[in-house]
């Protein structure tokens, strides 16, 4: 009789890394639906294109590194990176933009650092920031939400969208320029010298919104819903996202300034515009690149929230989640050093770099 020799524990919970990634993918759906509803097929095309490139790149690199390809693909982490990048890119962005971004995210930001678990920077955000810096124009060209389009102008259908993304498929029957427009954050930034109320009145993005920013509010609520579900599924803890949202809210409230002409915008506008919720629940929660302990994640999340506000209001870019996240990726090891939990039987927490007493 020969029995297996194994180290305890002999049982495992059912949750696997693959499942974790699948949950994350699933949780993006509400946000994706909202995006597609408001801005057309562009995001879906982004995601599909990015996923293909990501999986291909991952396979090629894993093969190059002489590792079992299928084993590494099955963790689905490349797919998650691709989906997050696809969600973040402007809909109907030219194909090469998506391809370059994905190549950069998987090839450089992930595998150059040793692959999953070893990358200090969030790959999707690295891809995004590289594109934003290199190609600012296509990266800041957003679509006007479906219902705010001028009369007679429609969002392109699927085939037209494909033609816009891949010009090789022939000229689209519709000019892209006709459907592009500002995002709420752009709009807010451009109207300087006006009271918040005046901006709201001048911009249909605000005036026709249910809550604060037309179309975007639903996108953000969609990601919020997905995120809450993930917390419920224990894929990650509440610490980092909640801290980030609180940080952002606090800053917005502090500098709201009664809606004067120097106001940075209301907290609710900041929460429901741009990439706030996508960032809070799908980027900030990336476990690999965030701080480790619960306390650390509170610090990490809150810092990102504050940075997002600072860059949005006082920086040159209308949105800031990517920059803020990358900056805090830098700081994560430092945060870790000072936020070790207090271990059982110890009167206080130690520092990671502490020497033997």
């Amino acid at each position: 009789m020969v029995f297996a020799r194994a180290s305890s524990p002999h049982e495992h919970s059912a949750l696997s890394t693959r499942q974790v990634m699948q949950y994350v993918l699933l949780a993006t759906l509400p946000g994706l639906v909202a995006l597609t509803w408001n801005f057309g097929w562009g995001t879906v095309i982004n995601i599909l294109l990015a996923s293909t490139v990501a999986v291909g790149t991952e396979a090629a690199i894993v093969a190059l590194r002489k590792r079992p390809v299928l084993f590494y693909l099955q963790d689905c982490s490349a797919l998650v990176t691709a989906v997050l990048l696809g969600l973040a890119l402007p809909p109907l962005a030219p194909w090469w933009l998506t391809v370059i971004g994905t190549l950069f995210a998987i090839g450089i930001a992930k595998h150059l650092y040793g692959g999953l678990g070893f990358n200090p920077f969030n790959p999707a955000m690295v891809g995004y920031v590289v594109l934003l810096i290199s190609f600012p124009v296509p990266m800041t060209t957003w679509i006007t939400p479906r219902d705010l389009l001028p009369a007679g102008v429609h969002l392109p259908d699927l085939w037209q969208s494909l033609q816009i993304v891949f010009p090789i498929l022939g000229a689209p029957g519709q000019a892209v320029d006709a459907i592009t427009g500002a995002t709420p954050l752009d709009a807010f930034k451009h109207h300087t010298g006006l009271l918040v109320e005046q901006i709201y009145a001048a911009e249909p993005l605000f005036s026709r919104a249910e809550i604060v920013s037309y179309g975007w509010e639903w996108v953000n609520l969609g990601f919020l819903a997905g995120g809450v579900w993930l917390i419920y599924k224990k894929v990650f803890t509440w610490h980092a996202p909640v801290a980030m949202l609180l940080g952002l809210t606090l800053m917005a409230a502090l500098f709201y300034d009664g809606g004067s002409s120097t106001s940075g915008g209301s907290p609710i506008m900041h929460l429901l515009s741009g990439a706030t919720m996508l960032g809070a629940f799908f980027i900030v929660t990336d476990p690999v690149t965030s701080a480790t302990s619960a306390r650390g994640r509170l610090v990490y999340g809150a810092s990102i929230g504050i940075l997002v506000y600072i860059i949005r209001v006082w920086g040159n870019y209308p949105d800031a989640v990517a920059f803020a996240v990358l900056l805090m990726n830098f700081a994560a090891p430092l945060i870790d050093n000072y936020t070790l939990p207090r271990t059982y039987g110890h009167s206080k927490a130690r520092k990671a770099t502490e020497k033997k007493p």
Binding site: A6, S8, P287
Partner: protein, 866 residues
Amino acid sequence: MRKIWDIPGGIHPPENKHQSLTDGIGTIAMPERLILPLNQHAGAPAKPLVKPGDRVLKGQMIAEPVGFISAALHAPTSGTIDGIADQPVPHPSGMSARCIELVPDGRDEWCDHQGVGDYRAQPPTALLELIRNAGITGLGGAGFPSSVKLGPRQPIDTLVINGTECEPYITADDSLMQARAPEIIEGVNILRHILGNPETVLIGIEDNKPRAFEQLTEAAEGTGIEVVEFPTKYPSGGEKQLIQILTGKEVPSGKLPAELGIVCQNVGTTFAVYNAICRGEPLISRITTVTGQACGRNGNYEVLLGTPISHLLAHNDFDAKACTRLVMGGPMMGFTLLDPAVPVVKTTNCILAGSKAEFPPAPPAQACIRCGLCAEACPASLLPQQLYWYAQSQNHERLEAHNLFDCIECGACAYVCPSRIPLVQYYRAAKGEIRRHDAEQLKADHARQRFEFHKARLEKAEAEKAAKREARRLAAEAAQRKTATSEAPSSGPGSADDLIQAAKARAAAKKASPDEQKAKLERSVEANRNRLKIARDKLAEGRDQGLDSDAMAKLEVKVNEAALKLKTAEEKLASFDDTSPGKGDSTVADDAASRVMDRVTASRREQLETTVASLKKRIASAEQAIGAETADATIAALQSGLEKQRQKLAEAETALAGLGPDGDQKVTDPTTVDAASAAIARAQAKAAARASMTPEQKAREDLHALDQRIAKARDKAQAARAEDSEHAATLESALEKLEEKRRGLIEALGAEPEETVPERPVAESVPAPSAVEPHPVPNDDPAAAAIARAQAKAREMAAMTPEQKRRVELASLDERIAKARSKLDSALAEGSEHVEALQGALEKLENKRRSLAQQDSDGVNPEGGA
């Protein structure tokens, strides 16, 4: 209602307890053979009391505990000892160890045994002894000898009985609590009595055992024992976790619960204590759960220790083909068995024969995604992902900063890890690695300390020598100065008084050394005692944490080593107290010193009187000589000599007559005193140094001195022969004598270095005190002898006028210069390396002589004649 605290982390794996909880506690047919490992517990293996062929009765002790942390072993049934040999034992490594094999005779015949009538009438120590002799160890998985855990040094205010049994599948304690609640409660009462009736007595049970809770609550009614139920969560049953749940307190890292005034015992152990005290039955069986899908039947059984697991499995319709993993213990912390022939031991709470569906083969580990699920599950609030990271990179410093050693290896982190990383395995390996590393470090540190100590000793010896040289130089200088200037008593630095004081102080310092030595020995005993305590604590803690037996074995070895060292240190101290070496030496030195001082500082009147007397004598003999002499020239010479003597006598008598009332005062001639006190200092230093030596060391030192003298004597003899001197023969015979002495000394040393070497084996090797005046100082002591010589010299000097002294000094200097010259010549001839040194010495001597001669010719007469 008692407040229940929550523990951080924890998991809820499927319980799988119902399978084995069907019908109470069953029994198993007697196996053909019982295998009883000598080490079923934490600590030293028991020592067999039987030999093959012996017939033993049920309950008879067949192996006794060795040392403090160890446990006895008893025959589980009557039968014949078949052998004592190495057999595979239940251990994660699958190792073999010494086991007693017993072939049952089927009669199951008890030895004489009976319980203690009223345990409350017994002192706790007696009960602890009974528990120790009953071979009771923790039955909850740790196996730490219960008598040790129940006899803490700290006062105990809380007794916690662990009925948690939080691991999935296992129901041994549950079934025991259901079936034998009154006995368990009685056992708790016994433990209470032993621990001095702690205020709070708690039995902790998870809420998935409602029947056990009911039974115990009922049985505990009116006893003051609180039965506490709390929510099921793994690992609530860990000792530290249970204490936190029930009391809200945390056992400080690296400490035992006793530090908090808490003792924790498992319900199974409590039942065993009841059996031992009330029924007189030692620990020979235990309740074991047999479960898992590869067993057709699941259940709990009262199993004799030593029953082969294969026998147990066969009884439960075991399907070997269906079994992929055979685990002893639970699925979270149990270890796999490779061979089902291993026996049930005291810590076997469960045999889990898992099927493929239950324990599918582990998938390959994926990368850590740092999801933090592990950290959320960790009951010790560690960061398992960081520990894993640093374990991989072998970063020991970071591992310790992340409190690796507070990990209880519960496996909660590995259970939840979505990447299926065998985290616990990494932690065990890292812990082992760090322990090894620390042990090596410790060894290296000891070596370094030894080296430094050695160096310090050498330096100290060197410093002492230098100090002696300095003292001698100072004495010589002072002597010169005094002679050169006036006789007026001086009290400046380097004066006689100072020197005497200094010498005394030095001698006193040296004398203190036996005391110091004793203090050192005492300190060493204390340190070793501490070390032993630490080692024991570590062992206890290790056992609590469920260290694998490899690590435990190492800890045990440490404990034994520490105990041995303590013993040696204690013996040393004891023997030191007995002999108090050095006392005699220093006393002798003291006596001698005081005698010298008496003489040297003899009053002026006494000195003068002596001088007068001796002069008178000399004059008388000179007169006689003149009377007998016929040659004129000679007579003239004699007469002039006589004249001089007479003159001196007159002077001395005048001086004596002129002595005032203070003439009786002591300490006259500082020069004399100086030289004498320097010599005294030297002698005392030497004596004191010897006082702190063992006889052997003394003998060795003597041998060394002898060697030096022999070398010198040889040189001299050679030089004499080379010069064809008349002294050659004398020198050679002296050399021979020295060599003979040396042989004797070596023999004495070699024969029995500790005992037979006499305290002062080379007494004769020291020249007898100067022939000038035989002296009562015991001449078997080199120090005393040296002092005697110094005294003699001092006396001589005291009797002389300064001029005479100078002359004597001059003469001796001349002699030394001559010697130095001849040495230098022969050194030059041989091209010896010492030429330079010799030249330097010669120069110094010549300088000295010059300055002395200068004084002489200057005609300074400091004393105005004496």
